[in-house]
């Protein structure tokens, strides 16, 4: 891997103008293509803030953020939109889908937003992705007609629609029961293996974190631990899934 898909150098993020909250306090992080990393930490430790910066939804107060080799501070609004569209996929904890749209249309949104016009190829692509997340027959359903787990699977299909290099997921299983959470997590894993997509997944659930290749832990806006998983000397070597492929 010549170039990391994601690189943070001394990233600081402050909120507020009078009372300043330092959400991130000098974060260095490097993510290689193909990694599957969990971001854990107590509530309020800055996980979502970090994801928003990486997701180009917000700008850092200090430090440098590189996504796919581009320093994001140099990009204007349009440049950010384009980089976001081409490189990044999102799975949110809330607001999974646009309720006014069907599952298929939701999956089409990123491509549609880029090309402006829907075509048959775009629909076929969306249906294929829905098939891959096991929802081929729910393509025409509005999101209100889907269960929470199904909605999150549609959101995953949507995150993958542009074949992004890096998928950011903020507690994607936070609202799901254990069984659905497992299914959704399996899906993320599978795409990581099959396509080599890089994942950065925020989770509260230690059980799920242990199914990743790497665990990054934030405490009070700083990275306190960053270890490959399973730990060195465990039953699996440091080598990650990506390297196994």
């Amino acid at each position: 891997m010549a170039e990391p898909i994601l690189q943070l150098e001394g990233v600081v993020k402050d909120y507020g103008t009078e009372v300043i909250t330092r959400a991130l306090d000098g974060v260095d992080l490097r993510l290689e293509a193909g990694e599957f990393a969990a971001l854990i930490g107590p509530s309020g430790s800055g996980k979502s803030t970090l994801l928003n910066l990486v997701g180009l939804l917000d700008r850092a107060t200090a430090g440098r953020v590189f996504v796919a080799g581009q320093e994001v501070a140099t990009l204007d609004d349009r440049g950010l939109t384009r980089l976001r569209r081409r490189t990044l996929g999102f799975v949110f904890q809330f607001h999974h889908l646009l309720p006014a749209l069907t599952a298929e249309e939701n999956v089409m949104v990123p491509l549609w937003a880029e090309r402006g016009r829907a075509d048959e190829e775009m629909r076929r692509h969306a249906r294929e992705l829905l098939g891959e997340v096991g929802l081929a027959e729910r393509a025409g359903s509005k999101s209100g007609e889907l269960s929470g787990g199904q909605q999150q699977r549609v959101a995953i299909a949507r995150a993958l629609a542009m074949s992004p290099a890096l998928v950011l997921a903020d507690e994607p299983t936070g609202n799901l029961d254990t069984k659905s959470a497992d299914a959704v997590f399996d899906l993320l894993r599978r795409f990581n293996r099959e396509r080599g997509t890089t994942f950065l997944v925020v989770t509260h659930d230690p059980r799920l974190a242990q199914r990743t290749d790497r665990i990054v832990e934030l405490v009070d806006g700083r990275i306190c631990c960053d270890n490959p998983w399973p730990p060195r000397g465990g039953e699996r070597p440091q080598g990650t899934m990506a390297q196994e492929r």
Partner: protein, 404 residues
């Protein structure tokens, strides 16, 4: 379908009750505007029509000094003045004048007229009249008498006379019967009634009498001269300008119909002004309605907007989604409103009928009216959407997504 159109339509369909309410609001507004302007335009057109049904658009007459200079000797003028002080000055060399006026742009027809006071009598009945010596073919181009003939024909050979309905009743004559016309100065002759007209005005029907130009000239002692040149123009609201041009070109006085109907014109103007003010405020109300509904919709949809932006939808596209909604609401609402307005107008014109079953005035439902309504409503919708749309476009996706 372009993404922003798809989203705009879907958002409108999804916000069913809201969309229906604002559509109804726009429809009612546009309906009232269409109804009101159809009514007022129809009313005005019929007023103008009635007025101009028996009036030339421009009447060209001599200036007093000029008439004196033209032709006649001082003695003749003096004589004429003394004998008939009410009689107007005359135009002598009028053939080239007709051509000059007819050559002016937007002049449709010109006709020479000799006119003056006279008396019509039959047996013991005697009525004061205005005698008009005319050339029927060209006069009919200026004032459509032939369309208003109720009995007989609009024909004037040497001994024919065409009179109005009321005069015919007052004298007790019918077509084919004879009356005597007396122009004063012992000039009188017997004419045969060849036609009876109804020009829609009691005064005109009582007083106007048409004879051939030559007969008129001889009854009124006008020699070969005429009193006025009557003119029909293409655009009646350009009559002032055309009259001014004719006056300048000929050195004569040219009175447009507006000068002779100043009061009517003031009434029309103030009617138009009040209707404009009403339409303006309705348009403002419609714009505010659309803007407020869209603003609420932007707030309600802020999470969707955040997702769209996070997924790479450009700010410009998001803005367009809402601007399109405003335009669509205006367009569809104006379609419904046109139907409402047209229905109201037709209904109204049906109940406002004369005893004979004719509408008192026709409502003006020209397609142009609906096009204008649709255009104004659509543009209003687009403009009303600008503020909510930029609000949507400016939404910060990070905030929306964080809120949960």
């Amino acid at each position: 379908m372009p993404f922003e159109w798809f989203l705009a339509l879907r958002f409108l369909r999804e916000g069913r009750l809201q969309s229906l309410l604002i559509l109804a609001g726009v429809a009612v507004g546009v309906g009232v505007i269409v109804f009101l302007s159809a009514l007022i335009t129809g009313l005005q057109a019929s007023l103008v029509d009635k007025t101009l049904g028996s009036q030339a658009h421009v009447i060209v007459r001599p200036e007093e000094e000029q008439a004196r200079v033209l032709g006649n000797s001082d003695a003749a003028v003096t004589l004429r003045r003394e004998n008939a002080p009410q009689r107007r000055e005359l135009i002598d060399e009028w053939q080239p004048l007709l051509e000059t006026i007819a050559a002016e742009p937007d002049v449709l027809a010109v006709s020479p007229v000799v006119s003056g006071p006279a008396f019509a009598s039959r047996g013991a009945a005697l009525e004061a009249i205005t005698l008009n010596g005319i050339v029927p073919a060209s006069f009919d181009q200026v004032i459509r008498v032939s369309d208003s003939i109720v009995s007989g024909r609009f024909e004037l050979s040497g001994e024919d006379v065409v009179i109005g309905r009321e005069l015919a009743e007052d004298l007790g004559v019918a077509v084919g019967e004879r009356i005597r016309l007396d122009g004063g100065e012992q000039r009188s002759a017997v004419f045969r009634v060849s036609g009876i007209f109804d020009l829609g005005s009691r005064e005109v029907n009582e007083r106007w009498v048409f004879v051939a130009l030559r007969s008129g000239q001889s009854l009124l002692s006008a020699g070969n001269s005429i009193s006025t040149v009557d003119v029909r123009v293409g655009d009646i609201f350009a009559a002032d300008a055309i009259a001014a041009r004719i006056a300048e070109r000929t050195g004569l006085i040219a009175d447009p119909w507006t000068k002779l109907n100043a009061q009517l014109l003031v009434a029309l103007r103030s009617q138009s002004a009040s209707s404009f003010i009403i339409r303006f405020f309705i348009t403002v109300a419609v714009a505010l309605g659309i803007a407020s509904v869209l603003t609420v919709s932007v707030v309600q949809k802020s999470s969707e907007i955040g997702i769209l932006k996070a997924l790479g939808t450009s700010t410009e596209r998001v803005r367009r989604v809402f601007v399109i909604q405003g335009g669509l609401v205006g367009l569809i609402g104006s379609g419904l409103g046109s139907v409402i307005g047209a229905t109201l107008a037709l209904f109204f014109s049906r109940i406002a009928q004369t005893p004979t079953g004719e509408p008192t005035f026709p409502v003006d439902l020209s397609p142009q009216r609906f096009l204008v309504a649709a255009l104004v409503a659509t543009v209003t919708g687009l403009l009303a959407a600008v503020a909510p749309a930029s609000r949507a476009a400016k939404l910060d996706p990070a905030k929306v997504i964080r809120r949960g």
